[in-house]
């Protein structure tokens, strides 16, 4: 394991950000840390990056305890914060060169790695422009380049696609895959389940400072695969209809989603008939009924009763 945390705790006054976080991440994978805002993702990243210290528990990176030997492991990590941590009055080249120099890079080696990072994020042709003249997506890419220019073994990406255009988002997603192909371990936090599904080899679902489920996407789907999902599109108020359906025997959960209701049930044959009957009695017109494979959102919903964006 390249990262291993045991019983990690951290509190900010009354708020318990981490409550005994247990996590094991293998070398060379993309690990997605998935959870809603305030679940503890950024706190975990900040502890690993050495920005804050844990109140308790242990954390090891490449077999070295982080709490006592931060500097020894910092050189092998790259940190890409959620905010745009770049200097807008410096050029892209100057930004990357500055952050590269903090990792001891100098002279021709530094120049070579800075050029490589610029190529990697497709900013080489705009390297002499001040960052303040970049679009939001370009700034995000520069933010990424500043974190990976020293070619770290482990890269932490804290919600790197927040608030950017689809083109830049795709570029960042492809960059992350490429970094992984280069043998880097990527720890990726997001509350966008689609990204996690697309990118991650392994996913940890975090809520209230604890990992509540961990594994590959298929493993997680299996958690709720014994149950079945039905999506029913109706003509009427989906929220009140969902409340009505939740009372039916063998229905595990019913929630309003877009123009319909997502019903999780235990697979009993009579459930579908009961659901349709209840909707009809309520005077609601059914437009469409479909069976669905569970996604990460469903997994999260099933385990916490909340959606990721709550």
């Amino acid at each position: 394991m390249i990262i291993e945390s045991r019983g990690l705790t951290k509190s900010y006054k009354e708020v318990k950000a981490l409550q005994g976080l247990e996590l094991s991440i293998q070398k060379g994978i993309i690990y997605g840390l998935l959870g809603p805002n305030g679940a503890g993702k950024s706190t975990f990243i900040n502890i690993v990056a050495g920005l804050v210290k844990a109140d308790g528990g242990t954390l090891e990176i490449a077999g070295k305890p982080v709490i006592t030997s931060n500097k020894a492991v910092k050189g092998m990590m790259g940190f890409v914060p959620q905010d745009l941590a770049i200097y807008e009055d410096l050029t892209a080249y100057e930004n990357i060169a500055f952050f590269a120099s903090l990792y001891g890079l100098r002279g021709s080696e530094k120049k070579e790695k800075v050029e490589k990072a610029l190529e990697f994020v497709a900013l080489a042709d705009r390297k002499k422009d001040l960052a303040k003249n970049y679009s939001g997506g370009m700034k995000r890419r520069l933010n990424l380049a500043c974190g990976i220019c020293h070619e770290p073994e482990i890269i932490f990406l804290d919600e790197p696609t927040v608030g950017i255009d689809p083109q830049s988002r795709n570029h960042i997603m492809e960059s992350i895959k490429e970094l992984n192909r280069m043998g880097k371990t990527v720890i990726y936090t997001t509350h966008y389940m689609e990204e996690a599904e697309e990118l991650c080899d392994q996913i940890g679902i975090i809520d209230h400072g604890k990992i509540i489920a961990e594994g590959k996407l298929r493993d997680l789907q299996k958690i709720i695969s014994e149950n079945e999902l039905i999506y029913i599109e109706i003509d009427g108020d989906a929220s009140s209809a969902a409340e009505t359906l939740a009372d039916i025997k063998d229905v595990l959960s019913a929630s309003a989603e877009e123009e319909g209701i997502l019903v999780t049930h235990n697979g009993e044959e009579h459930v579908l008939g009961n659901v349709v009957n209840k909707l009809t009695v309520s005077g609601l017109e059914i437009r469409k009924i479909e069976s669905r494979m569970p996604n990460l959102e469903d997994v999260f919903l099933s385990m916490t009763g909340r959606t990721l964006r709550d």
């Binding site: 990056a49 804050v52 940190f79 941590a85 500055f98 952050f99 903090l102």
Partner: protein
């Protein structure tokens, strides 16, 4: 060597900041020019014309020895008191006096002189009257001697041509700072305080945009970051004050006398003080707007108390309050060194600045330590 990276980034970013150029270079030069000119004549400027020349009109009614002597010794003799204009129109001359175009009007007849004064310019016209009276007394004396047949040696030399055996002694003989000198020095010390805002907000901005987190996540110590950036501030402020002093000397003739090295030493002490104080403020306050807001209030007070705008008078209480201003120590340290040759205040000022710099350094170390403990 990592300190150098922080030094360079601070210097590069600050030099690219137009506000830095405006506030730290353009404003000081403009203010030296503006205040230096506005207060010239009030602050003991030796080159300024404190008393304007008396503007005199004269009319010769009849060409006589008297009129000849008057024109030889008063009109044609270059002097610093009068500016004579001849006229032949008595009415117009009277009108000119009434309308304040001239200070006095002298009418020279065959054997007498009449002086008409402008009461609105009493000082100049009275001065004119006094000197004309002295001329008349000298003339009368020479006339009497000549009429008694006593020969006048050296071809009729008059007392007006006698060697001057008197020496004018001023009670305020030492050089005093003129307005350009005063503001050239004061503005050089004043604007260094604004360097604290640039450094303080720089640290606070790094925390806001999380570049400080990125630095903290790297294998570099936070002290390297803090010292490197503070050193960048020291270098920039040293360059800035050097430029302002050089422009002051070359363009505005600001007088630094024999004490330029003492001035440089005191200014350097001030630069160290504001840079380390700025580091402490930036790390503890963390909010750029708050730092700028507080500074906009505190710095003008420091400058005002330090005689930065005008020299403040007042009783002992006011003089004591003035001494809390760092600007007061620095300013008077340099001025006393230049104009009184007294280096004592300059050394004291340097020691105080260095003392504050050391205390700020200790406070920065304590803040770092406390943050480590609170995170542990």
């Amino acid at each position: 060597m990592k300190i150098l990276n922080f030094f360079l980034v601070y210097a590069k970013r600050t030099v690219r900041d137009r506000m830095f150029f405006m506030i730290m270079l353009l404003f000081p030069v403009l203010l030296i020019w503006l205040l230096g000119n506005a207060f010239s004549g009030i602050m003991g400027d030796q080159d300024s014309e404190v008393i304007a020349k008396a503007r005199m009109l004269y009319m010769v009614e009849e060409e006589t020895e008297l009129s000849q002597s008057f024109e030889d010794f008063m009109v044609n003799d270059e002097n610093e008191f009068f500016e004579f204009t001849k006229t032949n129109d008595r009415d117009q001359a009277t009108e000119d006096i009434v309308r304040n175009r001239y200070d006095a009007f002298v009418v020279i007849s065959s054997d007498s002189m009449e002086v008409y004064k402008n009461s609105n310019y009493n000082f100049n016209s009275s001065l004119g009257e006094l000197i004309l009276k002295s001329f008349a007394d000298d003339y009368n004396l020479m006339y009497e001697i000549a009429s008694l047949g006593i020969p006048i040696q050296n071809g009729g030399q008059t007392s007006m041509e006698m060697p001057d055996f008197t020496e004018e002694v001023s009670f305020d003989r030492e050089r005093t700072p003129g307005s350009m000198d005063y503001y050239g020095i004061t503005i050089s010390t004043m604007f260094l305080f604004y360097g604290m805002i640039f450094l303080g907000t720089y640290f606070a901005e790094n925390q806001r945009i999380r570049t400080a987190d990125r630095i903290k996540a790297s294998p570099v110590s936070m002290l390297s970051y803090q010292w490197g950036t503070a050193l960048g501030s020291v270098a920039l402020l040293a360059a800035q004050s050097t430029l302002v002093v050089i422009v002051g000397i070359l363009v505005f003739n600001v007088y630094w006398g024999e004490a330029l090295h003492i001035g440089a030493m005191v200014l350097f002490g001030e630069i160290l003080m504001v840079s380390l104080l700025g580091t402490l403020v930036g790390l503890t306050v963390k909010n750029e707007n708050l730092i700028a807001g507080i500074s906009q209030i505190v710095i003008p007070v420091i400058v005002f108390l330090g005689d930065g705008y005008v020299q403040i008078g007042g009783g002992p209480a006011v003089q004591t309050i003035k001494k809390i201003s760092p600007m007061y120590w620095v300013n008077h340290g340099i001025l006393d060194a230049i104009y009184l040759g007294d280096y004592g205040k300059a050394y004291t000022s340097l020691l105080i600045c260095l003392g504050i710099a050391v205390l700020s350094t200790i406070a920065v170390l304590a803040v770092n330590k406390r943050r480590e403990v609170s995170n542990a």
